[in-house]
Amino acid sequence: MAINNKRSPLARWQVTFTIVLLFTGIMLSMQFRTQQDFRQTLAAQKTEDLVVIWKRLLDKRERLEQEVEGLRREKLLLEQKSTAGLDSLSQVTAGLERLRMSQGLIPVKGPGVTITLIGDAPLLYLDLVDLVNELWASGAEAMAINDHRLISASAFDDREGIDNIYITVNGERLYFPIVVKAIGDPPTLQTGLSFPGGIVDNFRTYGITLNIQQHTELIIPSAKNLSSWIHAQAGPAPPPPPPQLNQEVVSGETAKP
């Protein structure tokens, strides 16, 4: 008991002391960590520092908003431009296609008539000028003679061959049978030629027979040689230079009433 009494207070004291020290150690280390974390948080900052941070953020937000606004406007413009671009692209393409057809750049097809002339009568090149003119007047939209597409520069002529005179179109010889293909409304085209006193009657007086046939589909090739301009220029003529007036004579004359 004595030994126990003597030993136990010492042991108890030591135990208690050890526990308290251990606890304090843990506390201290926790304290340090918390302190470290806390120093990073906004709440730990001084008010004036917070105000500076706040002001900087306000500036930053404003700059970013301006950037977004600018980008949005640019995007809108681009989108408008690109839809306008697409519109004008399809417009340009449609317009081009029509011009290519009407100017003979591409082959075309459609209903129409063929007029066949066989070489059994004295056909003159002027007869072809007349025939083509009648067909245009009757609403032909595209024409070819022996697959020579007729364009605005097309002209007829005749040349002397070895033993005969032959007709040319665009400078190229036409061989019989001469077949004129015209795309348009077939009945209208036929009537335009065969009405009483029309070209069919007129040709008949010279012994020329026209064999006219209506077709549901004819194909007309593209022009071989396209018009190219050397002398002509699109647009109005530039104004003439002002006349050279002799100022002295003019004023001298007006000064003498």
Partner: protein
């Protein structure tokens, strides 16, 4: 006894220190979790945190918009190149199709009814007024000769002659492109003036009209201006055909 007392003192000091530490720790933990040690900073902090979140969203938006703009720019460039190429062809075709005004050197042929001849022959028994007026065929054949001489653009009394133009008369009146003409007929053509003058004046129709005493005159021009073709090119029956078909 003294030993025990000293131990108690140590213990007491330690307890005090530990107590203080616990109190401090508690205070810190509470303030950290509440996020606001002081009331007026709490406002500031929440405002700042809000701003930080907003700027983050804005930055993402900017990145996204820039990406979209790049894509649009690329598409735009492709379109512009294509349109420029097509517009050049369109411009050329429009001029070839006489849809624009045109100017250049060339000739002017003026012809009129033979009024003087008609007046002189009026009392003759075989007087036929048709022999003294210009007919549609005269103009039609003259135009063919002007085309043959390499004219690049032709107009009669300011009506442009195109592929589909027709020259016809209804009664005594001549129509060009279905537009009524009245004498004198002024035929203007753009091309090489010398070649045009030579070939047209030597041509059959010009020679014939001159021989028949019609007032006909041909002059070379350094520059003439012709208006655009007013009529259209109707394409009601015509369709595009595949290339190479005949």
């Amino acid at each position: 006894m003294a030993n025990k007392r000293r131990g108690q003192i140590y213990l007491t000091i330690l307890c005090i220190v530990t107590g203080m530490l616990i109190a401090w720790q508690y205070a810190l933990t509470v303030s950290a979790s509440a996020g606001a040690p002081k009331g007026r900073n709490a406002m500031l902090v929440s405002v700042i945190e809000g701003l930080e979140a907003e700027t983050l969203v804005l930055q993402e938006k900017i990145l996204d918009l820039r990406k979209q703009l790049d894509a649009l720019h690329d598409a735009q460039l492709d379109d512009e190149e294509e349109i420029t190429g097509l517009q050049e062809e369109l411009q050329w075709l429009r001029s070839i199709a006489a849809l624009t005004e045109v100017h250049g050197p060339g000739i002017t042929v003026t012809l009129d009814d033979n009024v003087a001849g008609s007046n002189a022959a009026r009392n003759l028994p075989d007087y036929n007024p048709n022999n003294f007026i210009i007919h549609d065929k005269n103009i039609l054949y003259l135009v063919n000769e002007i085309r043959r001489a390499g004219a690049e653009a032709i107009a009669i009394n300011n009506q442009r002659i195109v592929a589909v133009s027709d020259i016809r008369c209804v009664g005594p009146v001549i129509f060009v492109n279905s537009t009524r003409m009245a004498p004198p007929y002024i035929i203007q053509a753009i091309g090489d003036p010398e070649r045009l003058e030579k070939l047209v004046s030597m041509g059959e129709e010009f020679t014939y009209l001159k021989y028949k005493d019609f007032p006909i005159r041909l002059v070379r021009e350094t520059v003439i201006s012709l208006p655009a073709y007013i009529g259209g090119y109707s394409l009601n029956s015509v369709q595009k055909a595949p290339e190479g078909g005949s």
